[in-house]
Amino acid sequence: MYRYDEYDQAIVDARVAEFRDQVARRLANEITEDQFKPLRLMNGLYLQLHAYMLRVAVPYGTLSGTQMHALAHIARKYDRGYGHFTTRQNIQYNWIKLAEAPDLLAELAAVEMHAIQTSGNCIRNISSDQFAGAAADELADPRPYAELLRQWSSFHPEFSFLPRKFKIAVTASDTDRAAIQLHDIGLQLIDRDGVRGFKVWVGGGMGRTPMIGHVVREFIPASQYLSFCEAILRVYNRYGRRDNIYKARIKILVHELGAEEFTRQVEAEWALLEPLALDAPAAEYARIVAQFAEPAYDPAASDRLDLADPGFALWVKQNVHPHKRPGYAIATISLKPVGGIPGDASADQMDLIADLAARYAHDEIRVTHSQNLVLAHVRKADLHALWTALDAVGLATANLDLVTDIIACPGLDYCALANARSIPVAQQIAARFADLDRQHDIGELKIKISGCINACGHHHAGHIGILGVDKKGEEAYQLLLGGSGAEDTSLAKILGPGFTEAGIVDAVEKVIDRYRSVRTGPSERFLDTYRRVGADPFKEAVYG
């Protein structure tokens, strides 16, 4: 894992001091709320419905046990004993007081964490594959590149007042677990002619106008990806629309210019920037790579696994993935118990997971964009003990990627932007499909729920997407089918007229029942069936 050196620590500490000063000036009315708001937002502090919400960055989704313990401590001391893991691999606290926020940030800085640029019209937290460094199918660990992007983008003087927010994701395998084609910039690590580099997508995103990214470069050498990103950002900063916030994301610029012309402008800009040698030296990359050195694996770790216990066997089947190392596995901890709040974890759960990470997983924890947690390096021989400990506290739900593993944004229960509640809809769908046998029979099915058009719940990328809308002050829901955030990215389409809260749950069940009757067999996923038969059978099932 990356550890701060004196420079990182000094910069993050200075940021805390700066924010402490900014808060003091605001509390003394030396600056107006209009002036202060962008400052607090660039420190992750939003005003939501009930209180301030603080979004803490989890760079590329990786945490140490020490950091997880600190997050638990903060939940107890500054919040109401829990936090919410988000679709951008961050954690949010819902009940923060402005006057206490500087102290909270100081406690975060003490464990090498921050909330820098988790909001605002700047480059946000860099996201990545939750299996990075462990996945059997990856080219190399993408996190050193993500860390370099984190540093390069932190307090970037030219790109701190962009037309709109800007999200970058980095992966290193053909299986896309980070939805890179739905980011402002998506980077996939590849090799070409013996040179390491990136394939670059630009202009993907969800929100009001969902779009899939365009490939603007088939290959940029890794030694030059920062200056290439610099060129993309400069074209966007200069020409992205600033007259209409709903058209201000880079995807709209790419769309309006056309991908070809946008690419031409980026290449022209990069031709000017490239000779300026803006990229980090190779030695810096090597320094960071050294910090992501592999953990001290047990060379004697065995691949043998006793699956006699059916509950354990089911969890292994559903929540455990292959590791690149013999005798090891990747275990996902579902934060989607039936009846729970997707992505929420109590301080006690955070502490327990941190302890389990220390005992069984080389002290490392990952946050996934589907709001679950991952222990990336677990000896197969330890899986049963891990499962037993998780099961004892309700954290061993064997539902990864199944119908109850639902992504839901905070929705109208917390969020000032929301039009409708998301969490209760997720809870009712999960309750309807609580039977595990039924879930496993249905198979992989990703339901994603957003409480407004901003799409924090990724409804456009849901096999089944649900969008909450406002109907004269009351909640209503639209149903979308056929989206995917994986390497086969597609955007879900609205099926028909909307529903009430009870109606949407019934509609989802009708869609799933129809899928079961028209699929070619249990091995055909819902998404594949939808792609094969189209929307009509589902329209008929829901509205017929």
Binding site: A10, F155, P157, E158, L273, L278, A416
Partner: protein, 160 residues
């Protein structure tokens, strides 16, 4: 309207640079005090030494003329409109060494970014406290990336 969804260039009247705005300069030479010509009028007035670039204008069009210019003023109609940072970077990258002035909605908390992007003088619509500016500019001991101010990124310091 969402918390982080304020329009960055909405219809609200931009603060005008007051005619008597106090110029805050970080240059050894005194701030240029002669007339400043709008970029759109510049070609016709090529004997002038000072040009103003509005937020949406292409600073690159000045590159052939940089040797003749003593001052380039870059407008910040709203502090959230960040186009002026790219204008400054582009002009410094092209070798402009004259006075580069940020004018308009220039606030204390943007000073670090403005200085790093290459601005060395400021005409704020509302006066800034020079002591507070000095403190803000000293706050961050290190920087993570290259910019027009030439400060050494930590990746250089780290790797000798």
């Amino acid at each position: 309207m969402g918390e982080d969804q304020q329009p960055v260039a909405d219809a609200a009247a931009p603060p005008e640079t007051a005619a008597n705005a106090v110029i805050l300069s970080f240059r050894d030479a005194p701030a240029y005090e002669g007339p400043v010509v709008a970029l759109a009028d510049y070609a016709a007035n090529s004997n002038t030494a000072a040009v103003r670039v509005e937020a949406g204008e292409d600073a690159r069009s000045l590159i052939p003329h940089l040797a003749r210019l003593r001052l380039i003023e870059v407008a910040f109609p709203k502090y959230r409109d960040g186009r002026g940072y790219s204008s400054a970077q582009i002009l410094r990258e092209a070798g402009f060494t004259g006075e580069l002035r940020a004018a308009g909605d220039v606030l204390l908390d943007q000073m670090v970014f403005l200085r790093r992007a290459g601005f060395d003088s400021f005409a704020p619509a509302r006066a800034l406290n020079p002591a507070a500016v000095a403190a803000a500019l000293e706050r961050f001991p290190f920087v993570y990336q290259n910019a027009a101010d030439g400060r050494q990124p930590v990746w250089v310091r780290r790797n000798g």
